[in-house]
Each structure stands twice: as structure tokens, then as C-alpha cells.
Amino acid sequence: MQIHVKHQSDIITAYLFGELDHHSAEEVKTKLDDAIRKYSDANLVLDLKNLSFMDSSGLGVLLGRYKKIKMYGKNMYIKNANKQVEKVFDVSGIYKIIKKIK
């Protein structure tokens, strides 16, 4: 699992590469929390174009980060989820909480 973080004015974009499951969850959580803390005045965009797989462990990680970023008064968005990841999102109803953008 790799994460590249790009910071541009008031937006952090985190690009996730690989598979997000229970095994990689802790690493993803730590890296995203570091970025959220470092750029606490920015909104977070998760670009999932290169996330090839995610199971329900990913939902927990994303919802946890959403709660954290809300505490800073900022927002989180999801973009470019593949079909498999999208299906897990749809089952959970996560898009009622975290907005999808293009």
C-alpha cells in the first residue's frame, strides 16, 4: 500500500495505491492522520484511481478520518473509485456522509 500526498493551497489530495484491507488499514490510517494534522486548514480529497481493492476495513478507516477532519472544521471527498470499491461504498451508504466528486 502506498500513499502519495499532494498539498495545493487549501486542498490535500491523497492518492492511494494498492489494496486497502485490514492488513494495510493501520498504515493508511497513520499516513492520512499525519497529512490531516500537518495541513489542518485544508480539505482532504482521496483519489482512489489506483486503489485496486478495498473491503469493509477501508470503510472504517475512511469514516474515522472523516470524523477527524470534521473536528478541524474541514471536509473530506472521495473520487475515482473503481467498480469493486464503489460497490463496497454503495452497500455501506457511505456516500450519504462523505461526498463523491469528479
Binding site: 489494496e19 484491507d21 485490514h22 472504517g60 467498480k83 463496497v88 452497500v91
Partner: protein, 144 residues
């Protein structure tokens, strides 16, 4: 393909085996000529079942996980068995967003995902003996 095929895999309950387990079952399932989406569905459901065994069946120990996959006609059956603590209340465990785990990455959606991605999910559990999750999915007939 002959009408029936079986494979069996035994793993330790280590999180690095999650990806291995779902890949193996996904690769075995390709013998039924499934669509990419059907393979993804099977891999996701297996990932959930194996993760449950790692997190819940063996919270403080490392134990065995046995996976049996059977292909018959256009149907795949996958059994994920552990010999751990068992589930006290299966009804409750199946509820969306219910989790006994303190680990925040467990969203409580594991069984809901399995039920959505597979046609049938049967849970059999005995406290202190273990849990078996049996999942079934029919693969669509494709024209080539």
C-alpha cells in the same frame, strides 16, 4: 472443465494472509469463466470472512484458518472455518454496523458485504469451538 473441482487451503490467522487468501480463491474461481465483477465479488467476500476469523476468532492468539472452495456446475461454494472463540450472538453479528472489535477499521459491515456480494451466506458457530462461514454464488453463463 469436469463438473466438479475442490481445493483446500490452511493458513495461520496472520493479517498478511488476507490478500493471499482472497487471491487464491479468486484464481480458483476463474475456472468457471466468471466476469471480472463476479471475481471481485468472491474476493471481497472471502476477504471479509478471513478478516473476521483473524480479528474475532483469534483475538489474542494465532490459530488455524481452513478454506475450502468447491466448484460444481456454475456454482462456487467457499467455506471459511476457524477453531477460535466462536460468535455468541449470530443475529447481532449479522447486523450492519455492529462490531465487537475496538479496532476502528472494523466497520461492522463484514457480514453485510458477504451477503450482498454472494447469493447465500450460512454462519455456523459454537462458542469456544469455532465458526464456519459457508458462502455460495452462481456464476452467470457467458457467451464467447
Amino acid at each position: 472443465m469436469k463438473s466438479k473441482n475442490i481445493m483446500e487451503l490452511r493458513l495461520l490467522s496472520l493479517s498478511q494472509n488476507e490478500s493471499f487468501a482472497r487471491s487464491v480463491v479468486g484464481a480458483f474461481a476463474t475456472q468457471l469463466n466468471p466476469t471480472l465483477e463476479e471475481i471481485s465479488d468472491i474476493k471481497t467476500a472471502v476477504s471479509e470472512a478471513v478478516t473476521n476469523a483473524i480479528v474475532h476468532a483469534y483475538p489474542d492468539t494465532i490459530g488455524d484458518i481452513r478454506i475450502v472452495a468447491e466448484l460444481s456446475g456454475n456454482i462456487i461454494r467457499v467455506k471459511v472455518q476457524d477453531f477460535g472463540v466462536g460468535i455468541r450472538d449470530i443475529q447481532q453479528a449479522r447486523q450492519p454496523f455492529f462490531s465487537t472489535a475496538n479496532d476502528e477499521s472494523r466497520s461492522g459491515m463484514g457480514f453485510t458485504v458477504m451477503e450482498t456480494f454472494m447469493d447465500e451466506v450460512i454462519i455456523d458457530s459454537t462458542p469456544a469451538k469455532g465458526t464456519t462461514v459457508e458462502m455460495k454464488k452462481s456464476i452467470s453463463k457467458q457467451d464467447y
